[in-house]
Amino acid sequence: MIQTIYIEQAIFDHPRTVAIRQRFPKASIVPCQHYGEVFNPKAQNFRLQKQQPSLILAEKFNKFVLEAPTSYNIGGQRNYYFSHMLNCVYDCRYCFLQGMYRSANYILFINYEDFDTAIEKVATESDKPTYFFSGYDCDSLALEPVTGFIKHTLPLFQKLDNAYLELRTKSTQIRSLLEVEAMPNCIVAFSLSPDSLAAALEHKAPSLAKRLDALDKLQIAGWPVGLRFDPIIYCDNYQQLYNDFFEQVFARINLNQLHSVSLGTFRMPQGFYRNTVKLYPDEKLFAGPLTESQPMVGYEPELEQQILAFCRKKILQLMPEEKLFICHDDD
């Protein structure tokens, strides 16, 4: 439950601000000039704030759509991402957000129409298909009942023939999708991990079973779905664990509805990794066989290759190769 909402003065009376305030009638409302006053100060502790994050309502002025790293793709050549929200309701220990931001508060940029304009501009400046990823700096769906962003954005993609939208999520908040007709150019991609790893590392996130149920409902409704096995986490029994896990997941998948699968091992930019270790020095994940070298921290190269090769082989027993994409950070 949100207890404090910081609101930039300039958008205090914006209809979305008003609607969100009405949703949290007991929340303390704190006006501010710019979200950075609350979000950016140095003297903040992400781990403490994560216990009860506040919501910051703000207006974004530029960089609505950014180019995605080249290795992050699901078959397209033109890949972009956008973030209508910063920070996530879940608390996954492997997530780079905890090392990137000082504050765990959620920022919601409420000028959705400016995102629309930027997306449309990028999508129409080339004849090639353009992919837009929405789940980089937040979970695409977890706060949808509050933000209504996806409900707002889907009609835009309905009219953009050559644009694809990936909603990346661990959430079961799929009502806004089930209420409308499935769209072939909107891929709902679920991040999935074996149960024991999800329990140990994906705090506050729905269980694997619940995510699979949500995925099932979406594919029955005709939505293209994606599977994101990223990050794969090393442990002594990873082969058995992931072998059983992949079989469990693919037993629920209709391959005709499956848009793409991506695969990557745990890795994090070195600076973010160091910040995160300071917050969680006793976390087992960070005590594993990792190697710290600029610009990324990840598993020792030989181990990483072994893990990827094992997972790739197993997954390809269960689905066609052309839909599998491996995520590296070599670039």
Partner: protein
Amino acid sequence: MLHIVTALPCEAKPLIKHYRLNGRQAENGFRIYENSAMRLIIAGIGKCAAAAACAYLQGAEPQTKHAWLNLGIAGHRDLNIGDAIIANKISDASSGASWYPAMPFKQSCPTIGLISVDQPNTEYNSNSAYDMEAAGFYPAAARFNSSELIQVFKIISDNHANPAGQVSAQQTEKIISAQLGNIDLAIKQLFDLNAQMAQQQTKQDMSAFQQRWHFTVSQQHQLQRLLQRWHARNASDLDLNQFETKKNSKSVIASLEKMIKNLPMRFDDK
């Protein structure tokens, strides 16, 4: 340790009594009242005094991160005398600067904005509370710890109907004493957060290693992290005898790295 800054003796008295704080012998600067868990300074009125008190308290134990509480009276246009508030935004009326204490806990009383003024304010122009210290206290304390550990707790002493000039020391003591329950709750939350923060900073005890081998500063960092990794993967303490054949710190580190590599790595064993 919790560090409390008040402006006036009548604001401090109920706390000194309730928490059984003992006054140190007079020192050059401020007198510190303390028990084993908290220290308090009666700073005097104004932002500068509050900031100076923060620096003085931190100086009492400079290596440690402490929780901070500014406690005192404030005015508000229409809140009742005796109501307690926690500041969710602190503004300096003279400079226009603002600060936002983070609140990752359920607050023990309502939170509102607080404006620090240089002269007592009887206009109560906004819906914020008015004091004379928080804008000095907060940025000074924020030099020493994270914003979640710095809170400002005020009790309303004056409003439009009962302006600031009428507030007596006796009445101040009375309204603060009446809020000791909420003050106690706020203090418990700060202690709890401070304990969590300390957990993040817990340093593994390297002294046994350092007594036997010489570690450079860089090696001390390495050893610290290796010990953290050891404990993350293994609940048992390290037996120093395992290293008795090691002649220098370099071989101790190499050996510890190897031992960690051989530890089980599972996530389903909790």
